[in-house]
């Protein structure tokens, strides 16, 4: 029996497993990895809708990707978010899947998805992808599970400095929402840090600064409806000079990965092609590629450069990835 709470407190007491659009929970239940009666969230008004607030935009966790990608406010003021939403999955999934579900989703690693394998996320003792096939693995912080976080929206929301509203925990950064370390300092191989009963209700996006621009760049093998190998979101302001910039990469780490070295290198400097190139060259600072993922370092650097160039176009047009 599916529970359909109408009040947040009741939903929190039920403890989950929570169901938003159902696309992720359906998958996990088929894998036998989400026990219990589903707690459906669609009757909860606070989780719905996109609205302007005093200091920015509030996006309910139950907003579908289809709504998000088509929302005029999002398209105008947070274009990278609209572009990213439109790049996720395909139309018939986007009409079901939600912002909250996308951000909190489990890994798509084949070893996790295969029912006959064990892995750290399924209670196993090691990561079979490390010595097995891992061409889609992370290149930063691969100390435990090598799978990258699968959420495109998390990457872009992190770039916009969005804060998650979570019942019982107040507001959390994307990092706090998605990343937790064990006592040994190694990341826990979990998709998010929410405990049973903690409910993600919305993301708060700060209002864009004057002259703010953003870009989202996705590198995937197939042109449409494919998972990214590398993705980069950039938010910035300034014309000839880089007044502010934030660069976050996705599909390369267990959580959205902020490229601070790039930001620091270009901040306050001139936005010339050379300066941007020098900045992008620092994209892989601190990376640790596995044997099968070295190519991602090249892609990451190129993607960061292309995204920066989109924000500060030189005289000629920057080609989109040839996909």
């Amino acid at each position: 029996m599916t529970h359909r709470p109408t009040r947040l407190a009741r939903a929190a007491r039920l403890g989950g497993p929570y169901r938003a659009g159902g696309t992720e929970l359906t998958r996990l239940r088929r894998l036998g990895l989400a026990e219990g009666e589903p707690v459906d969230l669609r009757e909860l008004a606070p989780l719905r809708g996109i609205e302007r607030t005093a200091d920015g935009l509030r996006i309910g966790a139950m907003v579908t990707l289809r709504e998000l990608a088509g929302h005029p406010e999002v398209r105008t003021h947070y274009p990278a978010l609209a572009q990213g939403a439109l790049a996720v999955a395909n139309p018939q999934v986007r009409s079901l899947a939600t912002v909250g579900g996308n951000v909190l989703q489990q890994t798509r690693c084949a070893y996790f998805t295969h029912p006959d394998t064990d892995c750290l996320r399924k209670g196993g003792t090691d990561c079979p992808a490390r010595d097995g096939h891992h061409a889609e693995a992370a290149v930063f912080d691969v100390r435990s599970c090598v799978a990258p976080h699968s959420s495109t929206l998390a990457t872009i929301l992190a770039c916009f400095g969005a804060l998650a509203q979570v019942t019982g925990r107040g507001t959390l950064s994307l990092d706090e929402l998605l990343h937790q370390e064990t006592t040994g300092g190694v990341p826990r191989p979990v998709p998010h840090t929410l405990a049973p009963g903690e409910l993600l209700t919305a993301f708060m996006l700060p209002a864009p600064r004057p002259g703010e621009r953003s870009a989202y760049l996705r590198v995937s093998r197939r042109a449409l409806a494919d998972w990214p190998l590398v993705e980069v979101a950039v938010r910035c302001a300034g014309a000839a000079r880089v007044e502010c910039v934030r660069v976050v990469a996705g599909a390369v780490a267990p959580r959205p990965w902020r490229l601070r070295a790039v930001e620091e290198a270009v901040l306050a400097g001139p936005a010339t092609p050379d300066a941007l190139r020098r900045g992008a060259a620092l994209a892989t600072t601190g990376a640790h590629a596995l044997p099968g993922t070295r190519y991602k370092l090249r892609q990451l650097e190129a993607a960061v450069l292309a995204a920066l160039e989109r924000c500060w176009p030189a005289s000629q047009e920057v080609p989109a990835p040839a996909r």
């Binding site: 599916t2 798509r108 295969h114 394998t117 093998r221 070295r294 892609q299």
Partner: protein, 907 residues
């Protein structure tokens, strides 16, 4: 569980919701709207798409208890009354359907786009990029995307708003665009059970003990059948051990999970390298090698073969022509720079004596993954057995079933009305059929067994990966003086590969040594896949030839003209010079910047196979003409070929001719293999037509007392005028004639592996020019445009033939750029679980494709009817590889062309 209400196709109705069922379970299984197909169950393929409140939704991921109060439209509910929706009409008219299994999803996504577009833009023509984006969630394994794009665009533009006069290019399109076509997965008898297979998680093991008692005692379980005895050997993960039938699929899955099996498992050889290593665990002992299935198009016929560990090789020739060629090849290479057996790619000048181009070429395994999985519904009635099977061989399977279960041929009937793709994977009696038949016998009820997509990807079939050492030697004049090809195919537990042999099909004349090895490993068996062994052969050969041209500073087209004496292909080389942009091709790696364009050329040839015993029956009754033959439609359009022969030949509308196929009880007909369906059916159909016309002439002459009557194009001419064929048919009804495929003129076809399957004279050929864009920043290749010139005698139905070529090219683009079967090295498990993580090309990846049929050749074949389904799959990989070289100056040696390789960062 609860009873809820929703609107389906405009009708309010109640349904049982539950927290475990999906919307697909409700729509397809509960309500019986089987136009919504169950394929990937991961939201990746779009086959289950329905419209929910107007928007396309993946019903496989939508919980059933969220359907209440919603407005759902399925493909069955489109249009009004007996009027089709304009998008459906456009699919008919644009030939936008092959096997048809993905069609309902595409039609619904197209309709959703159409309605949005019309609301905003009226009958403006939508940009292609928008249509591609709207259809990006639908996958088509046949590769029908270009036709679908045309259909949706033309429908939006208003071309199909009016009239119901759209002419379908295919006999069964109407059933397919309306969801009425019944595939094996859609068959449902009253009291039918669902069967589920228990498979091995181990790759190399012995089944020690099985306890299926608990499973058999669970509620709803009706039969448990062992497919492997205790003590039975497991040779690959995913091998079937036990089958369970229960009232519902959920109950059967639960019972399957309750079967306890104890294994003795051992280390397994899970890759070709591991299988070839010193001391590798053996897959077959000397006694059980004969049990290995075939990975090739025909059974394994090694007259003399030699096993070394897991490698099965032909014994070297001792005498005769092959031995002399061997010696000549050895001499030719010794004269060169001493290019020996080393694996490192090399291409060096060899002093004044010409050059040696020597290299190792690899291809990854490619899964067939037809959208309709292997599926069977078996039903015993006393000693008689009806088998609905998703198969490309109704007759052959009926024979195999009769043999295995000791039945007379009239006790077995195999039916396949529509088949949702096959590509070579559905030729034999496979586990799902054995399980369904045994479970039905044990339970006394009809049983359906359908592989889920994980099983389909693991054991459903794949083209073996390969490693080919190819060396060619050129003389001082630049001519080809010797060719040496040694190919290792990664065949899993199967045997059989012809890569080297196929590489010897082009450039006749020079001596050659061609050796093919099968490397067996503890992985699922390879199966014949559209042109078995072909793509790896030409991937190696045609890039080596390109390399030789580059070394000599010659135009690759000119080099092929100099080397290739086959008249059919020489016409194709002329076609390249006039019909493609090849003559304007610039120097290698000329473009600057990170995104570069390149143009590549490749040639290929294939065999002309035919099934000489094919017969076709025509029955005339009061409703018209019915053509029947025991063949099956897997997306090639063979019903339409049959209908067109008789409609054209008798001046009838296509609707007046009915084609009955997909039934093993009909007149013996061809299996869909070796591109032989057209070459078998069309000549036989024409023979039947001739016989029928003679019969009509005789009847009309007698009944009407005609004088000087003779067969003419439009009917029977006689002294007093003309009797139309329609009139003559009326006079003759009821009557029946059976024609047979006439022999080819000239030399007889060489019987291949049975009297039913032969190889005729002549080599169907293709030359292909492809333009690519290489993004050096990200290591990505996009195919921009490709031109295919085919020499196949005469394309019988050019529209259908073109559609089929599109499909072959698109599947090959998948093989070239994306597809790679991954096996976990530690466990031997196939890692792919659905089309979410096995990447086949989508609508965004499809280039513009030009297909030209260059007429001529094959005059010895009746109607010059020669098949092309495999031929069109041969040249794409090498034409892309050569184009990448042209763009970048770098030679790629492994398929697929993944970013790691393109960025020079491969492991």
């Amino acid at each position: 569980m609860g009873v809820e209400r929703f609107s389906v196709n405009g009708v309010e109705r109640s349904f049982e919701s539950s927290d475990t069922d999906s919307a697909l379970d409700v729509v397809r299984d509960q309500i019986g709207l089987t136009g919504a197909k169950r394929v990937c169950e991961a939201g990746a393929c779009g086959a289950c798409t329905v419209l929910v409140d107007g928007a396309p939704a993946a019903s496989c991921l939508m919980p059933s208890d969220t359907l209440g109060g919603r407005r759902v439209v399925t493909v069955e509910g489109l249009g009004g009354g007996d009027r089709l929706h304009p998008v459906q009409r456009a699919f008919l008219a644009q030939d936008a359907v092959q096997c048809g299994y993905c069609t309902p999803g595409f039609v619904l996504a197209g309709v959703a786009f159409f309605e949005d577009w019309r609301a905003e833009h009226g009958t403006g023509v939508p940009p292609e990029s928008e249509i591609r984006a709207a259809l990006s969630g639908q996958l088509c394994r046949c590769g029908c995307y270009l036709r679908i794009l045309d259909a949706v665009r033309e429908a939006c533009a208003g071309r199909y708003d009016d009239g119901d006069d759209a002419v379908a290019h295919r006999h069964e399109t109407l059933e397919k665009v309306t969801g009425r076509a019944e595939y094996t997965t859609d068959v449902r008898y009253p009291s039918q059970l669902e069967g589920v297979l228990v498979t091995s998680p181990y790759a190399n093991a012995v089944v020690r003990e099985m306890d299926d008692g608990a499973a058999a005692g669970l509620p709803g379980v009706r039969a448990v059948v062992r497919l492997l005895p205790e003590g039975g050997r497991i040779r690959h993960a995913g091998q079937e051990i036990v089958a369970v039938a229960a009232d519902t699929a959920a109950a059967a899955r639960e019972a399957a999970a309750a079967v306890k099996i104890r294994y003795d498992h051992s280390p397994a050889a899970t890759s070709m390298d591991a299988a070839m290593a010193e001391g590798a665990p053996l897959v077959y002992g000397p006694k059980d090698r004969k049990s290995a299935p075939s990975a090739g198009e025909v059974p394994v016929l090694f007259p003399r073969r030699r096993w070394r560990g897991n490698v099965c090789s032909p014994a070297p020739p001792l005498a005769g022509r092959a031995a002399r060629a061997d010696r000549a090849v050895r001499r030719a290479f010794e004269e060169g720079t001493g290019a020996g057996q080393e694996a490192a790619p090399r291409a060096e000048g060899a002093g004044q004596g010409g050059a040696v181009v020597d290299g190792v070429w690899r291809t990854a395994g490619q899964s067939h993954v037809p959208l309709e999985a292997h599926a069977c519904v078996a039903s015993w009635d006393g000693d008689s057995l009806t088998v609905h099977l998703s198969t490309q061989a109704v007759s052959l399977v009926a024979h195999a079933v009769a043999r295995r279960w000791h039945l007379k041929s009239d006790q077995v009937r195999v039916l396949a009305d529509h088949v949702g793709g096959a590509f070579g994977a559905k030729q034999g009696l496979t586990a799902e059929a054995v399980a369904a038949i045994e479970l039905s016998r044990a339970s006394g009820r009809p049983v359906r067994v359908v592989l889920d997509q994980r099983a389909e990807l693991a054991v459903g079939g794949h083209r073996p990966a390969s490693r080919t050492h190819l060396a060619l030697r050129t003389g001082a004049d630049g001519g080809l003086t010797a060719l040496r090809v040694e190919a290792f195919a990664d065949t899993g537990t199967a045997l059989g590969s012809d890569i080297a042999k196929v590489a010897g099909l082009l450039y006749p004349g020079a001596p050659r040594t061609l050796r093919d090895h099968s490397v067996v490993s503890h992985r699922p068996p390879g199966k014949p896949f559209r042109a078995p062994s072909g793509p790896p052969a030409f991937w190696a050969l045609e890039q080596a030839v390109d390399e030789a041209a580059h070394r000599q500073g010659r135009d690759p087209l000119e080099l092929r003209r100099a080397w290739d004496t086959e008249p059919v292909r020489r016409r194709l080389y002329d076609w390249v010079a006039t019909a493609t942009p090849w003559p304007e091709r610039g120097p290698v790696a000329a473009g600057g910047g990170p995104v570069r364009r390149g143009l590549g050329l490749a040639a290929a040839a294939w065999y002309y196979y035919l099934q000489p015993r094919t017969k076709v029956r025509a029955r005339v009754d009061t409703e018209g003409v019915e053509i029947s033959v025991a063949t099956q439609e897997i997306g090639t359009g063979c019903r339409s070929l049959l209908v067109s022969v008789f409609a054209d030949g008798l001046g009838l509308a296509p609707g007046e001719v009915r084609a009955r196929i997909g039934d093993s009880r009909l007149t013996p007909g061809p299996l869909a293999a070796g591109s032989s369906t057209t070459a078998s059916l069309v000549p036989a159909a024409h023979d039947t037509l001739d016989r029928l016309r003679r019969r009509l002439l005789a009847t009309a002459t007698r009944e009407l007392g005609l004088r000087a009557a003779a067969v003419a194009l439009d009917g029977i001419r006689h002294a007093g005028g003309t009797v139309t064929w329609r009139e003559a048919l009326r006079l003759a009804a009821p009557t029946e004639v059976t024609g047979r495929r006439p022999r080819d003129r000239g030399r007889r076809p060489e019987p291949w592996y049975s009297p039913f399957f032969g190889r005729g004279q002549g080599a169907p050929s293709i030359v292909q020019v492809t333009e690519v864009e290489v993004d050096e920043r990200f290591g990505l290749v996009r195919v921009v445009r490709t031109w295919c010139g085919l020499a196949v005698g005469r394309a019988v139905r050019p529209v259908l033939a073109t559609t089929q070529c599109h499909g072959a090219v698109i599947q090959s683009i998948g093989q070239t750029l994306y597809e790679e079967r991954l096996t976990d090295p530690a466990t031997g498990l196939t890692l792919h679980t659905s089309l979410e993580n096995y990447p086949i090309p989508g609508i965004g990846d499809v280039p513009e494709i030009t297909v030209d049929f260059v007429p001529g050749g094959f005059d010895h074949v009746a109607q010059q009817a020669v098949g092309l389904a495999e031929l069109a799959a041969l040249a794409t990989p090498a034409s892309i590889g050569n184009a990448v070289f042209h763009a970048t100056g770098r030679r790629m040696r492994s398929l697929p062309l993944d970013p790691a390789q393109l960025l020079g960062e491969a492991e």
